[in-house]
Symmetry: C2
Subunit: 153 residues, 2 copies
């Protein structure tokens, strides 16, 4: 995977969570995801095609997404529901769009598919590209979430 791809996704994530949900999220150090149960309670996943093929996911614990969505809606949300699922889909779409816009400026033309949102306590995600999956952890005052990107070599 082109390491140039990591930073636009990192920046887009912090930016979207801040502008959409008025929530500060602090990125940790990106790492290569090894097999293991890095999971979440709700995830947005989006496929990416174009110059290369891949996928991006963002996974939240229930506590973390409830904080983010409460900030976004301006009212307290205490559990994952239909509105939270829609918000995760929207967040996923916006991060993918922002990151792809920055990559396009650098000459990498990528297209986003339509996101899907997975709900289910402690599910795990495996990206099937030929390249390594890069995980970018973020911390918020409501807990952690994780962005993963994976592209074919």
């Amino acid at each position: 995977m082109n390491v140039e791809f990591i930073n636009p996704f990192l920046k887009a994530t912090a930016n979207v969570i801040k502008t959409m949900a008025f929530t500060e999220s602090i990125p940790g150090k990106p790492y290569v995801k090894k097999d293991g149960p890095a999971g979440g309670d709700i995830s947005g996943i989006i496929g990416i095609t174009g110059e290369t093929e891949g996928s991006m996911s963002i996974s939240f614990s229930e506590g973390c997404i409830c904080l983010i969505v409460s900030n976004m809606f301006g009212e307290s949300v205490t559990q994952i529901n239909k509105e939270v699922e829609d918000a995760v889909g929207e967040i996923t779409n916006m991060i993918s769009g922002d990151a792809r816009r920055e990559l396009a400026e650098k000459g990498h033309v990528l297209k986003g598919a339509i996101p899907t949102v997975i709900s289910g306590k402690n599910h795990t995600i495996k990206h099937m590209s030929t390249g390594p999956a890069i995980a970018i952890p973020f911390s918020t005052s409501g807990g952690h979430f994780i962005v993963e990107i994976c592209f074919n070599n």
Copy 2:
């Protein structure tokens, strides 16, 4: 969504499950998915771009995927593990590829992203396109599985 898209995915699914895993799967009547907990224990998801954008998923109960993968590997598999996840990714890729090949012959050029595989007891999937999500149920001697396709209008 173009209803012409449904049949190629239906045919490709039965064909891939039969030729890869020597397992008969009988398609039921496709229906428009309403909000509700149509879930599974393991799912493959793939984003699709091109003439339109969308996503396809295939979700299995643990019992059903264990039967399919046991048939595929020629040895008994009794629970979801790394090899089962890889098999679900491969099945997802092949169904998407077969269906897109048939659609290309009809003049609909679509591109597949890289699949992701979700594991987690009874997770649910929500497709975020603007069109309806079409669910196609299949039955096998090991239980049911479900294919969902969803495209932007």
